[in-house]
Symmetry: C2
Subunit: 227 residues, 2 copies
C-alpha cells in the first residue's frame, strides 16, 4: 500500500523505543489495530517528567486521525507544563485493555490477555480556535459517539478555562496477548485447572440524573450501546 | 488511631506531589480506600524515565501490606534499569478503574466516574529469596485469590529468569469521582439527556484450556468469582 497516492502507510515505523526487549511477537505497528485499541479506551495514562521524576496520571483523550488530544483545566500540572515548555513536553501516553485472566498450571506462566498502545512523543499546547473545537468535540464523542452534537458546546468562559494538548501518532506500538495458557509440556499432566477467565465488557442500563426532566428519553446513540 | 501500639496510621501523609492542583475534594489519603482500589485492579501503569524521557508501561502487580511488587523478565527495561540503579529507580505507579461515563447537558461537564491511586517512590530490586517467593505468590494471588496454592511454584530456572521490584506505599494518593452529572443551573432546562452510563464489571464463564484433561473441574475459588 505504501507509495500509492491516495493511501497512507498501513504501519508505524518501529524505533528503538517501540521495539520491545522481549516478547517481540506480541508487538504490532499496524495503524488499524492501534486506532481500534485507542478508540475502545476511555482513560489513557499520561506520563511526563517533573523535577526529574516520572508522573503518571489517568486522563480522558480523543483521537482525530493521527492526532491524540488531551484536555483539562488550565491549572492542571501537565497542561500547564506543556504550555510553558518550548517546543513542547516529552510525554508517553499508554492505553490498556484487560481482556482476560490467564491461569496456567505453573505460577510462572500465569498472565493476562490484554491489548495496549504506547505512544512516545512531544505534546503541544493547542491554541488554534478551530483545532480546539475539533479536539473538544472528539473528546466528548470519544466518551459516547455522537454526543457532541447533543450537548451544549463550550462557551467563551469554559473555553478559556480549558487547556488542550496534542500528541501526534508517530512513534507508536501496540502489544497484545490473546488465547489460552501456555504451559511447559512437562506440566500438562498436573491436576490444576488451566484456562482463561474473560472479563465482562459492556454497559449497565443508563442511570438518569436526579434533576432530569421527567419524560426525557434515553437518546438512540446511548440506547444503541446498551442493547 | 495514630500512636497506639497495635494500629497503623489510617492515612498517608500528603506531599507536594500528592496534593492535586485542582479538584482537591476528589483526593483521599485513606489507606483502606487506597488498598481497596489497588486490590481491585489487574494492571498498573508503571512510569519511569529513560534517557530523559518518560516511559509508561502496563504491568501486573501484587500488594503485601504496604509494599507493592512488580515482576517481569530479567531482560525487561524497567526491571533491568532498577537492578542497575543505585539506590533504586524513581517510578510512578498508577492504577485506575473506570466505573461510568458521565453525560452532562453541557460538553464542558462531561466526565467519567473513576477511582485511581498514584504512588510515587523508588523501586528496589528484590534479591532476598523469601521476599521474592512472597512477592511472586502475591502476584499470582492478585490475579485470582487463592491461586498460588493451586499451581506449580516457580523452579530454580524460572526464578533466575524473573526479576522482582518493590515499591513501598509512602507517598500515595487516591482520587475518585462518583455520582451524577453536575450541570450549571442555567443548563438544567436544556433538552439533552443527562446521567451516568455505568460500565459492566465482573467475569464471563471460565474458558478451559484446549489441552486441559477432560473432567478437570473448575476450582471453587474460580467458580466463586463467576457466581
Amino acid at each position: 500500500m505504501q507509495g500509492t497516492r491516495e493511501s497512507q502507510p498501513a504501519a508505524y515505523t518501529p524505533t528503538d523505543r517501540t521495539v520491545p526487549t522481549r516478547a517481540a511477537d506480541r508487538a504490532s505497528y499496524d495503524k488499524e489495530l492501534v486506532h481500534a485499541i485507542l478508540d475502545e479506551g476511555y482513560v489513557c495514562h499520561l506520563g511526563f517528567v517533573r523535577d526529574g521524576a516520572p508522573v503518571v496520571l489517568p486522563t480522558l483523550y480523543g483521537r482525530v486521525g493521527e492526532r491524540l488530544y488531551v484536555h483539562g483545566s488550565t491549572g492542571s500540572r501537565p497542561l500547564r507544563m506543556t504550555g510553558k515548555a518550548d517546543p513542547g513536553l516529552a510525554v508517553c501516553l499508554t492505553v490498556t485493555h484487560v481482556d482476560g485472566l490467564v491461569l496456567a498450571r505453573s505460577a510462572f506462566h500465569h498472565s493476562i490477555n490484554y491489548r495496549s498502545v504506547v505512544v512516545h512523543g512531544t505534546a503541544y499546547d493547542v491554541t488554534d480556535p478551530d483545532e480546539r473545537r475539533t479536539a473538544l468535540d472528539a473528546l466528548v464523542d470519544h466518551v459516547v459517539p455522537g454526543r457532541s452534537r447533543d450537548s451544549r458546546p463550550a462557551d467563551k468562559k469554559e473555553l478559556a478555562a480549558t487547556a488542550v494538548i496534542r500528541l501526534d501518532l508517530n512513534e507508536v506500538s501496540a502489544k497484545l496477548r490473546t488465547g489460552a495458557a501456555n504451559d511447559e509440556p512437562e506440566d500438562l499432566g498436573l491436576p490444576h485447572w488451566a484456562g482463561v477467565l474473560p472479563l465482562r465488557k459492556g454497559y449497565e442500563a443508563p442511570v438518569p440524573n436526579p434533576d432530569l426532566a421527567p419524560g426525557t428519553e434515553v437518546p438512540d446513540y446511548l440506547a444503541a450501546l446498551t442493547r
